[in-house]
Symmetry: C2
Subunit: 142 residues, 2 copies
């Protein structure tokens, strides 16, 4: 089962794309740091200061301003995430995030995952459209 | 099964409370309009211009600056929603939203509901902390 989340961002696709792949931008809406620019085949280390966490992702496929596919972890076992950007009219972009590989009865994991994607995309919209980069510490986990 | 979502808002509880109960404020982060001030026992009509939708909620229980309990619909059959506000230090509030009454195998309904609450709370945080009231049209439904 896949978890699908879709937002409209009132910015062109290249700005949305750069927010993910440029290691200087990601801290404004998602992870605290990203080890280098995202490129196909690279393993990127992401840090999340708030939870004192660090993890790797592997960039499986990338198409500039259109698509980013990565795998959680670097051991080949994590879920696949597909981020698609659809540039509507040079002023707005539909971003769709699909995380694949859930079992249908993993309800708690699915809900937790959905929470994460909706919140990240809300923060991305706040950052790109309004320059707000402090929404990210809002979510409280049990 | 209950759907639980929790955020920290860097504003005192009375400001968070007023954002819901004051009909002039709700349009900044959630519904387009609310028919009157939320008070115990009242049926409130909420409108959502974006989806050309209108619905009623019944305010079951309310405690100023601390708790709002409502039921979706006015026929007594909708889910119960419990919003709790925990004023941490006069400068920040933990808001917890619990929607009750899901069946565990209603995975799509649970995910849709989780999406709605995370997005509403993100918009509430954007509005109260940063005065951003245009996040709300970001979510795209299939």
């Amino acid at each position: 089962m896949n978890n699908i989340t879709k937002f409209k961002i009132l910015k062109p696709a290249n700005e949305v794309y750069e927010a993910f792949v440029d290691p200087y931008k990601i801290k404004n809406f998602w992870f605290s740091s990203s080890s280098e620019r995202w490129e196909q085949g690279k393993v990127i280390t992401l840090e999340y200061d708030l939870f004192d966490a660090q993890l790797n992702i592997e960039i499986v496929e990338i198409e500039e301003n259109r698509k980013i596919v990565f795998k959680w972890g670097a051991n080949g076992e994590g879920h696949i995430v597909r981020i698609s950007l659809n540039n509507l009219d040079h002023e707005s972009t539909i971003i769709e995030v699909i995380e694949e590989g859930f079992k249908e009865d993993d309800v708690d994991q699915l809900l937790d995952n959905k929470e994460g994607w909706v919140f990240m995309l809300s923060c991305l919209k706040g950052y790109l459209e309004f320059g707000v980069n402090k929404l990210r510490e809002g979510l409280v986990k049990e």
